[in-house]
């Protein structure tokens, strides 16, 4: 009898989680995206080198416009790679768990992620248009953190703490613009890797 009670309760909990939370998110996704972030940050710091990134765009010489282009290109490439890596591991995990990938929970997660990220993306375009390059690193961190907090209720709740830390780093990056890329590299590289390891150990 007791065995049946335990099994029933476990079943109830599992069905509630399976149906309402996106549990296919893999720790490996975090680690993979983190490695992409880490390399991107280091390459960006190397590209910029001794050129000072300043808030006032007019101080940037014309010759550095190619630098801006390569940094933006690098950023877009890194984002696509990180999304690709995250998707690969997540799809792999959902197959392992025997879950369908395209469910109403997945859709909810994607919508809740997209809203803050889209707003952030538009804001970044505005910054680019006004040549406010120095604010980009901090802005990406803040909006990404907000997106994580927004989506936390539909997946692992640990995502909330990652989101808070990303916002914190983003704010630091906005105050110390000269170190913006270092904060960016910590946020998108180091934090992702640490978080991925924790998630992997806990839920795999």
């Amino acid at each position: 009898m007791n065995k049946k009670v335990t099994a029933d309760l476990a079943h109830i909990k599992e069905m509630m989680e399976r149906s309402s939370r996106f549990i296919s998110l893999s720790g490996l996704s975090g680690i993979g995206a983190g490695i992409v972030g880490l390399f991107t940050g280091i390459i960006a710091i190397y590209i910029i080198g001794d050129n000072e990134i300043v808030v006032e765009g007019s101080q940037m010489a014309n010759s550095s416009s190619t630098m801006v282009q390569s940094i933006v290109g690098l950023g877009v490439l890194a984002m696509l790679m990180a999304i690709f890596v995250a998707c690969v591991f997540t799809i792999r995990k959902s197959k392992k768990l025997g879950l369908k990938i395209w469910t109403s929970t997945t859709k909810r997660v994607l919508i809740q992620l997209t809203i803050p990220l889209l707003a952030g993306g538009i804001f970044l375009l505005v910054l680019l248009q006004h040549s406010l390059y120095g604010l980009i690193a901090g802005t990406t961190l803040v909006f990404y953190g907000l997106a994580l907090i927004n989506v936390e209720k539909y997946t692992f709740s640990e995502l909330k703490y990652l989101g808070i830390l990303e916002i914190f780093l983003g704010v630091l990056a906005l105050f110390w613009i000269e170190n913006g890329l270092i904060f960016w590299t910590i946020g998108f590289g180091v934090l992702h890797i640490i978080y991925g390891v924790i998630l992997y150990k806990k839920h795999q």
Partner: protein, 96 residues
């Protein structure tokens, strides 16, 4: 009497237990998604869901979307109360 020590006989089967659990934490869930979540056959899900509907524990909505029939489920207030009682009873037995 279908209730013994707080446990509800209506929720004894695995399929019904799963079906009610899913509906406790979701709004409308359609047939295909429920079937995938519970990993049961069409007939199995249909018979258990209609039994729960008869007890007024769940609501079944049938509609046509793009000329295809679509069935969805939602828990009723009565169903929520009954399942919560069942859950409380299980937890009590677990502790005691």
């Amino acid at each position: 009497m279908s209730i013994i020590g707080g446990l509800n006989k209506d929720f004894e089967s695995r399929v019904r237990l799963g079906l009610m659990s899913v509906l406790m934490v979701n709004d409308w869930i359609d047939f295909t998604e429920m079937k995938n979540l519970l990993k049961v056959t069409d007939g199995n899900l249909a018979s258990h869901s209609s039994a729960l509907e008869k007890k007024e524990f769940i609501e079944i909505k049938k509609e046509f979307i793009a000329k295809k029939p679509k069935t969805s489920y939602r828990i009723t207030i009565k169903g929520r109360k009954a399942f919560q009682q069942h859950l409380d009873a299980l937890e009590k037995m677990m502790r005691g």
